[in-house]
Subunit: 239 residues, 6 copies
Amino acid sequence: MRIDGRSSCDLREARITRNYIKHAEGAVLIEMGDTRVICTATVEERVPAFKKGMGEGWVTAEYSMLPRATKLRNHRDISKLKINGRSQEIQRLIGRTLRTVVDFKLLGEREIVIDCDVIQADGGTRTAAITGAFVALVDACRYLMEKGLIERIPITDFVAAVSVGIVDGQEMLDLCYLEDSNADVDMNVVMTGRGEFIEIQATGEKAAFSKRQMDLLIGLAEEGIANLINIQKNVLGAL
Amino acid sequence: MRIDGRSSCDLREARITRNYIKHAEGAVLIEMGDTRVICTATVEERVPAFKKGMGEGWVTAEYSMLPRATKLRNHRDISKLKINGRSQEIQRLIGRTLRTVVDFKLLGEREIVIDCDVIQADGGTRTAAITGAFVALVDACRYLMEKGLIERIPITDFVAAVSVGIVDGQEMLDLCYLEDSNADVDMNVVMTGRGEFIEIQATGEKAAFSKRQMDLLIGLAEEGIANLINIQKNVLGAL
Amino acid sequence: MRIDGRSSCDLREARITRNYIKHAEGAVLIEMGDTRVICTATVEERVPAFKKGMGEGWVTAEYSMLPRATKLRNHRDISKLKINGRSQEIQRLIGRTLRTVVDFKLLGEREIVIDCDVIQADGGTRTAAITGAFVALVDACRYLMEKGLIERIPITDFVAAVSVGIVDGQEMLDLCYLEDSNADVDMNVVMTGRGEFIEIQATGEKAAFSKRQMDLLIGLAEEGIANLINIQKNVLGAL
Amino acid sequence: MRIDGRSSCDLREARITRNYIKHAEGAVLIEMGDTRVICTATVEERVPAFKKGMGEGWVTAEYSMLPRATKLRNHRDISKLKINGRSQEIQRLIGRTLRTVVDFKLLGEREIVIDCDVIQADGGTRTAAITGAFVALVDACRYLMEKGLIERIPITDFVAAVSVGIVDGQEMLDLCYLEDSNADVDMNVVMTGRGEFIEIQATGEKAAFSKRQMDLLIGLAEEGIANLINIQKNVLGAL
Amino acid sequence: MRIDGRSSCDLREARITRNYIKHAEGAVLIEMGDTRVICTATVEERVPAFKKGMGEGWVTAEYSMLPRATKLRNHRDISKLKINGRSQEIQRLIGRTLRTVVDFKLLGEREIVIDCDVIQADGGTRTAAITGAFVALVDACRYLMEKGLIERIPITDFVAAVSVGIVDGQEMLDLCYLEDSNADVDMNVVMTGRGEFIEIQATGEKAAFSKRQMDLLIGLAEEGIANLINIQKNVLGAL
Amino acid sequence: MRIDGRSSCDLREARITRNYIKHAEGAVLIEMGDTRVICTATVEERVPAFKKGMGEGWVTAEYSMLPRATKLRNHRDISKLKINGRSQEIQRLIGRTLRTVVDFKLLGEREIVIDCDVIQADGGTRTAAITGAFVALVDACRYLMEKGLIERIPITDFVAAVSVGIVDGQEMLDLCYLEDSNADVDMNVVMTGRGEFIEIQATGEKAAFSKRQMDLLIGLAEEGIANLINIQKNVLGAL
């Protein structure tokens, strides 16, 4: 039994609310237990310099936390004039994994900018951000369809993510903050609707780990992600 | 009749939700129509250098918008390495006006940091931030009382704020974004529970204004702020 | 009697020197007692991005202090990599108030950049900057006329500013630094030659204030500004 | 046969030169084929704020490339005032993985700063940096031993890293730049001398991947890292 | 005959005004023809970290130009977040040359900060800044004497500087901007009251130069600096 | 006899290795005793804004040190968000002196960017950088010739540089770090193959100096630079 009463292969309560911000083309609030992230998708009718004139689109992401999303207050990046290293790593991950399922030819020469802002953090913010951002991305594409700017939804598959880890010698799915901060091994897994992997990041925070432990963790993640993709399908319908 | 059906002296629907973020000592969501601002209050057991060793506390504020709080996406400050001039002006205003009602001797040598983050903007974000931040500030003081760190709530009066302006020749209370962007004159007013002024900022955006127009606007603001302070009293009880 | 012997409704000695810097299109030294500000106006044959192609001009302002303009030395902004919050607020005010009296169609697609650099500070630097900058702005427009680049001076009215405040319970005009730092209430007022208001910023630094006190202060400001506009007219002649 | 004539399970020629810079406590040049990285280890007799007074040490890392380490010249970070996101991610990885094998109690309250500077890049710079930095770290610890500042080498195991990937449907060890830029899947693996994992980062750059593909890649990495640790043992002797 | 009527060995009209800013311990306006620089000296009762606890003082300098000190407006450093390379070079020169004549033991553990701000530039701003800053430095030392904080003026000799150059094949003293921008060779010379050199910077801007040309330029500089030191002596009296 | 056994007019062992980095158009390792600098030359098919459309090229330089090039570790510029003042001064010197021997018309509208990165510092890094960068610059021009992009090598003369100084009353050539840090007078000299001067920077670090001392130092430098240009000619052949 885990500190919040879950079994080792249980997700926390997951909820996805669409149209959370009225101004954005896609705007999702995702809640995984006490972790809450606002994910918006903005359509910009221009592409980065390295994509100009190629007739193709791009997807990029930014990630940040409100100062009191965490137990101790974090300084805003601007007060130090430096983007937080962890945030930069996470936003690179979000952008990279979403791009894997976008058909840039179909999207056309425009960019979709994903903003993931953590309102309240309780572990698993990066994976929640990916799962929520995918829904916002689809909504932004539907907005483009409705406007007649694209002909088909340029998304080739679902994408969701979850964290797994080893705490007190036990493999567990979807760690909350207390579990995460005590984990010996911590793994973030991103998968597609077809059950393939897009990204696996396994880190021995306090101890090295074996191949067998890794395989157990991947097994837990596969189950969890399948459930999350079902939730995405429930709120989105077919692509 | 205004674009959203209000009369010229009507506030938008105002709602204040306490304990909105579980980590913060004070955490409020304030909604004024479609304007939504998260206001947190953080207790820090240290004071800025200029206050050190004086046995007195301090209150400071930061204000920011999520990138898609607005119709067009705003770049994050960190991507330009410059804090937005408007944000800086607003956070100075929030801190200054709240400090007017804090007894720093009673607060003791500690700082309360107010964070106002606009989730969705539809006009009047700075005044909503002040009205909401006041409630978060009181909650942080109550947290200090419960912990036995202070003996009395070091707040000497209520504080709330509202915007007023002249649109199409008509004085109006609590402008929404569409009204605000068409206003000839724009005024932000901050008042205490005793009905005195802490700050008045009147700007002739498109036209100069007369003393008479200003007096009419101040009258509207007095009414609106009295209502907002009633809402604060409803959610907070007596100080 | 005030610390420098003035009565409550006296301005300090005010002097405006044109052509103070040989390189600038408009270049004014304004002295209000011991406060000395250099205001230059630079014509740039381009406009900011948001004005491009509209056939209209723009006016913007920057404000800064020399490190020893004040009693204690201030660090230069560049040494902290952050523009001083107070400076940013002031330069936004200067730009905003001057723009109110400029006919941007007549100015044509060019920008006038105002630089206000405080050489010596003794209270009222922001209002002195506005009063001096207006004269530099007119001189830059006359330069454009002489060059045959515009047909008429695109300035619709005079603009000047002054500070007023309540010190030891007494309303006073044009506070020097010592008065300003002891003021309970501090107000900056910007008016036109026609006697209308462009901006009023009233702040209860140490105490809230009543409507009656505000009205008294505005009365003092009206008088003071009328005198300053007379001085502007003496050095400039008719517009 | 690969573009440089290797078989799929061959490392490039690997060479580690100790004492490469005369000033540093540890200073290594590591060459993996045409990839060349200078790794220095600096002993600093202080620890970061969060470690102060705990009687424990810390290890941190910085990673950078010379502007012409790559085919196209890269701007220096300072010219953009932003640390490159990729560099920041890599230096976090280097620090994290080295810390796993350091006994901070034995190290005592001091910090070892690792600097990895890429002189010439041809793929696999981050894994080469880890493999070389480990040797520099050991040399810095030996310097502390010789100075009598520590009693035992505070390193609990060897650490080395390698990249693997899938190129044209073929799993390969130790990708050079041309292979890396064509890879469908790219994986960086960090392991200990005992054959356990510290970090696995698998990314589907162009395509998602299956569990089976991942297992094949991990198998290749295990072999390659065992060889690299042998080279470390040859240049360092027993710990 | 030069463009402004001078012979090749004439200085421009040089004027030094003391007590130019009322707040600073030393405050000089130096004018060399149309070049005008404000030089202030600030006493700070602390020293940089590398001097702490040594019982010795330090002198440092900062140099900047107002945006319209020049024909074309310069952006402020803060708007680019980068200190201008030329300014940085000049302020290093000013600090270094002044330090050569300061007895840091006599000064005691305190710092004198020199600020040189160019109000109007017409060539030779760096050498004017040195000549003026020396006077401000002495005034700050006299302030320390009057306060009883030091026993003797810790200045060992006079220091002044001048530019020389070759324009149209002719060696010239004290170049104005027009001459400077056409010079083939440009040299800045800093000397003491005893006639020795502290710094010589000779640059072949458009052409290399011979030893003989250099010797001629140094001869001109010696004469010019002797005159400037006489002016310093006239305004300061004996040290 | 000097600390490393040289006589006062001896250079340290000087070695220039071409093609040191495979990616760069020119890439040199220069070693002067224990001072080692990598100098690369990059051809960019664009020029700075102020050169656009003039049919002429440009040469610019950047200079930096690895953190452990020196006895104590230096922070990277990016960690302070400020370019080191000394580095900025040096890179301006390198660019300026190289430009003196480039025929920009012959080079055509393109820029050559020189990067000088100090791997190990032992005095004289700036002069070594100039001597090495000249060779890299020529190699980049030869690359342009081979590509058929220019018709003649646009270099009008050789350029090399050396430091000289007065240590313990003795004039010396090519100071190592220990000598340099004890020098009373320090001079950097840049000369052409024809024996003319491009730049002379003489600084009285601890004492003022006489004309006679300066002449002795220049004599030493002339000899040293003639030797360095011979080494350049040996590795490069005729221009």
